[in-house]
Symmetry: C3
Subunit: 130 residues, 3 copies
């Protein structure tokens, strides 16, 4: 298992980790298999979506915050229940296939750590199987 260490800089932030994951896949030397990603946090998640136009992820973050607003009368005293909910809606794990030594992402796909309660130090666990 490998670990990516990431520092987020805003409360809500979609951080493109595609290149960092690609390096781990390259280093593994695995030709055909899978790369599994896991975020060990409860107010951050993972999603795979477009990384060409940055407006896509800002629209995604905006709509999520509209659906699940900060400070919306939550019982949790820490006040960040919206962050927990957004994290569960996106999920905290994902995977990508590896074929011929490369991740089989779609043309427009990038892998994002989705920060919903930053800025914080975050980790992404990575495991590659054959």
């Amino acid at each position: 298992m490998e670990t990516l260490n990431i520092n987020s800089s805003k409360r809500t932030q979609f951080i493109d980790i595609t290149d960092a994951v690609r390096k781990v896949v390259d280093r593994s030397g695995v030709e055909n298999g899978m790369v599994f990603l896991y975020v060990p946090h409860t107010t951050a998640g993972l999603t795979i979506n477009e990384n060409a136009d940055p407006a896509v992820v800002s629209d995604m973050a905006g709509k999520l915050s509209q659906l699940v607003p900060e400070g919306d009368g939550y019982a949790h005293l820490e006040g960040n229940s919206d962050s927990h909910i957004k994290s569960s809606l996106f999920g905290n794990e994902s995977f990508v296939f590896i074929e011929n030594g490369s991740m089989k992402l779609g043309t427009w796909q990038g892998i994002y750590l989705t920060e919903f309660d930053g800025p914080r130090k975050r980790q992404v666990f990575i495991k590659i199987t054959i």
Copy 2:
């Protein structure tokens, strides 16, 4: 890795791919393992839900479009940010266990490719592990 090729015919459409996946599992001859599914698109996803009453998926599609409407003041110029958001809410990957040569789906479960920006040509990548 195998690939399903699917043509969607509407902007929003839940396409039941259970039988197509089952054929790939059958052909593999794997008795006990897992089948992993991956959609390499950013405006389509995957979900496993009821395939008995078609009203279930039409209710699901309707509620999603109510929560995340088309053309809701998005910054992304292509105008389909709702499709990207719906795709991330449902996710683009899934898996099912294989036991005694068959997928261990629940009684009411079917596997759906969820089209959120059709009509388009779509792919589903499939990998079976033991």
Copy 3:
């Protein structure tokens, strides 16, 4: 494959299954691998989120029911389309890494079966790979 049998007691309920999954992992004797979880139902799901303050999951359940209300003019005659939608939003499968014989959950993470149409008898399928 192993199966957890769980009885939910409310319509909406987040049931912490972390200890039950941990027992299966312990019994397997696997030192380094993955544990995959699968819910074979269409009105229940799985999520990994905070299990320290119970207000977090009650806030999560409350917000979900606000976004996707029961009896919101659905076509599905059984009347529980909200349960199906919530289940697809959270997803019905998940995984956790195993390192040195233990699940690599984050400090605050617990594994929840999310009941959205209880009370019912529910199952969680578990498969451990190396």
